[in-house]
Symmetry: D2
Subunit: 369 residues, 4 copies
């Protein structure tokens, strides 16, 4: 029933349908005193805004966010932050022919079975548009992390068969191409690939990678709310994600202990790891090295090609989806993955504060002066 809330202490609740009057999020638990302006959130939303390139949907939304509560004189007050984005480009007519036809790859069928009927306008709640609320909230979490010295970087690692190896990463190039790839050459190849798919009325999947630096050691709450477990949930809850990997991920299956273990050493007087196959977690807790997580995004389900399908009355039919859709979701999902990662980290950062008696005593003895 109530699945629209994520997080325990730094908590977001999202709401809104693709073609309703608005979508939004409520961020509860954000500490007081964080400088927050609408434009800080807007720059996050702009990264997922449609219409940035010919490979993303042509839907025309300004996605302008308003802060309705929780901020006073430019700073968060510790009370819930209500964020609203009005929908302007609602075109219910575009979807008229899909009222009773279940789109392959979409949630139409199980939504109808679960709830008895559905808001069929553009996918309703199961639309990718729902992620705008996540991104608005993620922007707030990211600002909080930044204040804590934590940086999260996210990019497109692969689109279809075009994958970038670690040694070819040039992070400065991420913002230089519309696909958010850390390698402009790869981005060009990916564009050629996408153009050919478009001609074939087809779509592509891809991979998004995200890393975080500056984390304190020990984030994550054993044994179920581990850092990697919460991240896996956070990322898998994004519509098109079909796999989540930490560090070497699926590669660990065919590795050996002697290769996969990261030996410890002392570097600059600090405990460090010689390698980072684990992706920055040990036993589900952050281990002081770079946190590395990867999400696989399936190819866009909305394709113009004719597909076999059925109607809600149980009749076989055919469907070719018209309207405005991304031939690849990956570039716009980059900031969604970053947002979900930031929300996960912010939440565990707060929960971790209560781990040790001595630290709590120090906290309150200083706080009470």
């Amino acid at each position: 029933m109530s699945g629209s809330t994520f997080g325990k202490l730094f908590r977001v609740t999202t709401w809104g349908e693709s073609h309703g009057p608005a979508i939004g999020a409520v961020v509860d638990g954000c500490p007081s005193g964080l400088p927050l302006r609408e434009k800080d959130i807007q720059c996050f939303l702009d990264r997922r805004k449609p219409g940035q390139s010919k490979y993303t949907t042509m839907r025309n939304e300004s996605d302008k966010v308003e802060i309705l509560s929780g901020v006073f004189e430019g700073k968060t007050t510790g009370t819930p932050i209500s964020l609203v984005i009005h929908n302007y480009d609602q075109r219910p007519k575009d979807y008229g022919n899909m009222v009773q036809t279940y789109r392959p790859g979409h949630a139409d069928y199980p939504f109808t079975e679960k709830y008895g009927f559905r808001d069929y306008r553009g996918g309703g709640r199961s639309s990718g548009r729902e992620t705008a609320g996540r991104v608005a909230a993620g922007a707030v979490a990211s600002l909080f992390l930044k204040e804590m010295g934590i940086t999260v970087t996210t990019y497109t690692k692969s689109i279809g068969p075009i994958a970038i190896s670690e040694e070819d990463y040039h992070f400065a190039e991420i913002t230089e191409n519309s696909l958010y790839m850390p390698n402009n050459d790869a981005a060009k190849k990916a564009e050629v690939y996408l153009s050919s798919l478009l001609k074939n009325l087809d779509s592509s999947g891809g991979t998004i990678e995200c890393f975080a630096t500056g984390l304190p050691v020990g984030l994550g709450e054993p044994v179920f709310d581990k850092l990697d477990a919460n991240l896996a949930k956070a990322l898998m809850s994004v519509g098109a994600v079909k796999a989540v990997e930490i560090g070497d991920g699926v590669g660990a299956a065919s590795s050996a202990g002697s290769l996969n273990n990261d030996e410890f050493c002392i570097r600059n007087g600090q405990i460090a790891k010689k390698t980072n196959h684990s992706g920055g977690t040990l036993g589900g807790l952050s281990d002081g090295s770079t946190l590395l997580v990867r999400a696989t995004v399936k190819p866009t389900s909305s394709i113009a090609r004719t597909q076999s399908t059925v109607t809600s009355e149980g009749r076989e039919t055919e469907l070719s989806i018209k309207g405005r859709h991304d031939p690849v979701i990956v570039p716009r999902a980059v900031v969604v993955v970053e947002s979900m990662t930031a929300l996960t980290l912010a939440d565990l950062l707060l929960e971790n504060m209560g781990s040790r008696l001595n630290k709590i005593k120090t906290f309150y003895s200083e706080g009470m002066k």
Copy 2:
């Protein structure tokens, strides 16, 4: 702080350290009237029991479970079910040399940083032994699912480079080899591979696959508590798991929409899918086809080979781990993955009941007669 509880309605809380007096679990929210005997749980625990083959640890534990509450006259009462497994083979001396040395691949370092010190006996709470509590609880969830007509099947898909293709699955063979592989020939090859690793003081990773049939359509709670999202958390929370995939998983990244979409059809008068690339979920809800999930397990971190590491005082040192450890965790983790899947499904099955007003009205009007 409090991360040892999983689930919202069908909820498990686990407790216990590797070498404490006992480990256990409390299952809260199990419906009343479910027939439950200790032996129903025991047969699950026996599947993860050490000492089943030469590829699993020689620790000698009977892992005998006791039911301390929640069952009356052979049936669950609707009150919390307390399950306890006493530890008998505690050998704290085996671990004496590891008090201050951080084992590569283990949680020793971040646990110490988080909590200020740690129970160093055999990994304490971060030991694989913690999963016994999960399995005991998972057995209860599985019995509930069985009553609901839901079957969960789990097996070893790969060990190191020895992977079994879908067309070679013989599910009857799963219980015929000690590696729980659905192909006895592959199991033999895997045994040869493991023997060579053992000689080299090394260990192997692998992959566990799990499928469920009989699920009603619509399980999962958008947008964060989706079926796939909750499963991802459930499985990633298991100690050595580094990746979770649904359906085609990482393969979806390089696929195209026309290949990845599962077209709908009518089969036996029912809505069905021609293929199942999605792994049984659409929009994060069960779609009536087989739910398919896969977990990558990293190679056992405890290896006899000498490794570089550091001490808690920040001094570099070397370590070779003695004692009783599995050269591959995968076979014993099969039932852990099955348990976590069962717990996830049981929880969402209960939450789904409140989806539609009409069904709730029918439920109560009949219930009140």
Copy 3:
């Protein structure tokens, strides 16, 4: 940190400050198929609207609610329902002199200590205006309960020394006087009392009583989420409430078992109780008789009389509060108490569905046809 969410399955998150641009609520977990229009919510909000009589604040707010999501073609869809009420009559200047002066009886001091600063405009988040979000959500819960055959009735039992005995209740009169008392004569006496207080620049407390009929037997989840426990939290979370009683409440302390026990009997072929000292719960579960709960509301803290107080810099000073304030909060809080009761009942009604295996089996076997 994140305390603005109430409920587990039927869940409300409220947001907004007294003088921010808007206040609102997100209702998550409301079953699909419930007819819901803005005017259904408006009639609830109108009951707490300021300016209904000379005994309530003169603040001029239309409190017009907008539904931004979760409703399609006049019915709830099962997705979060976002409700927004814009603030129009913001008069920050009225509160200018209270920026650094802590008002007695208000949250100014602990809010400032907790968060470092506060939105001082009219109490910010700690204003009674926050309850508008609760009432909007409560209206949705009430509609759901109504569909389930459950009726909730709420009224003013006492204002200052003017209390109405059970034998003098005339429920039809509740809506005939502006104090929502079930006895017009008592209401007249209370008005005289309030007038005298007003002259003395003073304010009054009172008692609100609420009863619910039509509940199925067994609502409540032992041992912490009992019906009475959840109700106590729900009602005590309302700003000015200082006591919550179930049934005979504080009177039970001086009673004897032989008087306080409600004997069972058979009435119209059904199990019934001869008396209802328990207020409709046994062991924290609904027992089929009328649920009866009572909340004590303290006198309005904002009084025009001069009071001693201190500033945030720790200097003693005097304060007389100007502006628009209710000499008695009770009448406007009646619908708040009703709303919190409705939210509590809706939540437990959903959770109760998973109690018995047999009922769950029936539910799904029918649901899957």
Copy 4:
């Protein structure tokens, strides 16, 4: 379904039936480094142990607690603390005649309706014996509070008509009489009263009061998880409690703002209140003054006098309860109220740490050195 867990960060899950093999609790989220021995818990359990006087049940239980996890070398490790108390004096035969007869004032009827059947042995899960788990967990919370400089004091304020006024409190006398009253003379009068009730086969109710000092200002999470709201739930969840009051409680209804408001002043250079009608909270947050909460306990439902009742088959009958029962529950419930208060405070103390950005930054910058 799953109602046996209390708390968000400092979290307890209780389990066990009156006549099952054992009862217990799991405490999750207790910070590491807290010295904890079984005898620290035992002294709490001894306060609720039966058989302390002729006014408490003669059931013979040693209530000896065992710590099964979460403690290593005398200190908590930050992992779940499993506490078990074995039941020795199980006498199922005593209850044989109550299998199908519903006891007035007990949960027999709604439990049977909710779950389809019940563990009828001594009330099963709805027995007062369930509170032993709460008290064991409360002892841990109390030790934590003590380390934080917080003291909780609890006592019997009234038994039947024998009530002690504030000016007659002598806290040193609480442990000098078996009724835990802060006035030995009142205790003697109460004993006379109880003796007369016993002769009449009757029982008495009473009032328990609890105060806490040393709390930091600002505990509680607006707007639903306020300190008073969480306390109200905590206390109302205790079996026989029918009312919860904060500060003046029900007395506030007939008070006036000028009397009820606590004026602020400067005392010893600190902000203080001249009076404490509010009971230590403002806006649901701790305000630095003494927290004062009161619970009304109904008369023991189990009385030897013959009562009218019904059977589960719907037949009217009579019942006179034999066996071992307390003529007044209040004295044994004192430590239960204290435990629930301690658990509530411990939980909010942890959550409060994340309120201010600056404090979090200081916490982590020091913690990471």
